[in-house]
């Protein structure tokens, strides 16, 4: 007679098997150089050594890189074709915080991200997760835009702009947005208490309304006025909402307000006069990257100034590469792409990490009240 107890024994056996776990992963150290600690290509024996080590690893894990964002789709496929390395792109819609969370939670797993592309605040707050590395073109990155010990380095950025459907004619100032024809029309790219782009959108409004980088109050009041006029849309602006006509006015980075990114043809962009707020993202390499050589080769590729290198590819995606100044003087810049960037009047300002956090804390207490 069969007894139900056999289920119990089977269950216990399975549980034991599971609990045994596995021995700690043996980190593959390729004979010779340990690329996980190399701080530059030269230190590891030169670019050719890096390339062959990376090819031997054969894979690269990237995270939160949407293909249509700043031309990342082309960048990834160009890299794959050039070096024959498979790129696993996980979590394309992830936020910067999720990228570093993935580094922490996947620590030791072969699926952990090798490199990250994060907002400045997140990069500065998580330097303990990164490995120092200096790309070959390190000296062309402005000093203010990189960490002196090489833990993070800015890569591309843009200016906060207002994109809008051409059915509204031409908009030249933010105060026009308070008019009656913009009912339910104005949207941000996310919630400003968590999304970097949205926070900078409110900050840009603040600059246009007389505030400053240390005072985001006027920006919040502007959105409160929008809400009172019935012009604020609490929906996150996406390609779908724009196409459907639900969010015909969007505050977002200029490279995300391109007609080609947004997906509608009758889309215009303007940056308010003297409210030029710039924001750059930063690259970093995971200290415990499962593929350290491929990670470093990726960075070299991104900062290469070749015609089909990362910097120019970003420019083609409408983003301003960090080495733009140096490339303009040494002539390697793609002038056709550079001329397509929106015109700006006024000096660009950038938020420091402290100002960004202060603004976020102000928003945490005041944003929900302003737009409810």
């Amino acid at each position: 007679m069969r007894s139900p107890y056999r289920f119990a024994f089977a269950g216990i056996a399975a549980a034991v098997l599971l609990a045994t776990g596995c021995s700690s992963s043996s980190s593959s150290s390729s004979g010779g150089v340990n690329w996980a600690t190399a701080t530059s290509a030269a230190a590891g024996g030169g670019m050719n050594a890096l390339i062959s080590a990376a090819k031997k690893e054969g894979t690269l894990n990237v995270i939160a890189l949407p293909p249509t964002w700043a031309n990342y789709g082309t960048i990834i496929s160009t890299f794959e074709k050039k070096y024959g390395i498979t790129v696993n792109s996980a979590l394309p819609d992830g936020s910067s915080q999720q990228e570093v969370d993935a580094i922490k939670s996947e620590n030791g797993s072969p699926k952990a991200p090798d490199v990250v592309d994060v907002g400045l605040a997140v990069a500065v707050a998580n330097t303990n997760l990164f490995a120092p590395y200096e790309v070959s073109t390190w000296s062309d990155i402005p000093t203010a835009q990189k960490d002196p010990s090489g833990l993070w380095y800015e890569d591309y950025g843009g200016y906060m702009a207002v994109g809008y459907s051409s059915k509204f004619g031409t908009i030249t100032s933010l105060s026009q947005l308070l008019g009656p024809k913009f009912k339910n029309a104005v949207a941000l790219n996310g919630n400003p208490t968590s999304a970097n782009a949205a926070l900078n959108g409110v900050m840009m409004a603040s600059l246009a309304e007389g505030g400053s980088v240390s005072n985001i109050g006027p920006g919040v009041s502007f959105f409160a006025k929008l809400k009172a006029a019935g012009n604020f849309s609490p929906v996150e602006a996406t390609g779908a909402s724009i196409k459907a006509g639900t969010t015909p006015v969007v505050f977002d980075w200029d490279y995300l307000n391109l007609p080609s990114y947004v997906g509608v043809s009758n889309w215009k962009v303007f940056i308010p006069q003297n409210a030029v707020l710039g924001g750059f993202y930063a690259q970093a390499i995971n200290k415990n990257a499962p593929h350290p050589a491929a990670a470093r080769l990726w960075e070299e590729f991104l900062y290469s100034q070749a015609a089909a290198g990362g910097q120019n590819l970003w420019l083609e995606g409408g983003a301003r590469p960090v080495e733009q100044a140096a490339m303009t003087s040494n002539g390697s810049i793609n002038t056709a792409a550079a001329s397509k960037l929106p015109a700006v009047t006024g000096t660009p300002v950038f938020l420091t990490e402290g100002q960004s956090t202060a603004a976020a804390q102000y928003l945490a207490t005041n944003w929900a009240k302003a737009v409810s």
Partner: protein, 289 residues
Amino acid sequence: MAAVTSVGETPLAVPARRQVGMQAGRRRRLNLFRYVVFTVFGLFFALPLLAMARFSLEGAKLGTWSLTAWRQIASYTSSEGIPPLISAVEITLELAVITSAVMLVLVVPTMIWIRLRVRWLARAMEFLCLLPLTIPPIVLVVGLGPIYDKIAHLSLSALMLFWVYVILALPYAYRALAAGLSAIDATTLSEAARSLGASWFSVIVRVIVPNMWDAVLNALILTWALVLGEFTVAFFLLYVNLQVELYSISRNTPDAGVIFSTSTASLLFAFVLLLILSYVGRRRRASRG
């Protein structure tokens, strides 16, 4: 003793001549009620789906029609090697089978056993089967990190998602099974079978389960629908399943319609699969006699 039948088994065959009497009147009122209900609810469910489908066929200018969003999906079935979409579909189907098998084997005997022999554990099981729903998936993923790290050493395949999918399906499947189990008198049935010499295994598998087959079928439907539609946990654990792949497809293009063509396609796909699955139940019903 008259055969005991349930609500749904009243024969619907009514002669052409209009019936009179209490039963016929009630039947007419019932049919009217059913038609009204089906129409109203049908409209409520159909409209958003139609809106989605219409949007997926939207051209570059609002108001025009275009198949681009659908062609985008098709383009993912024709690259070299195994196209990512097809392999994602395969993996998800395999996941659905494994998850529902493990779930049924784990939950059904335990529920029946508790009902028959270990009543005091019933509330504990009920609470545990509700717990997965109380923790938002984004937080659950954080807790699952260490376990899935170990699992990633054993296998990198997305099939390893089944361990957590069983947990995710628990609340829904348990509730459907509990409704079915409470509708039959399990204790009497089991005592009758035991007194005829059946083992506990026979009691569970050959006596009680066939009596709650509809509930089992509903639990299967819920589990399959969950696996086919699951996105959040796979996404945050960095695995690729059907929904994650569809999402990547939609992010790969600025054409906003693609996310709707992929959603509509996945809904249709799930619907057809579930329809096929529901025919599995039909043969059993006939054998009930």
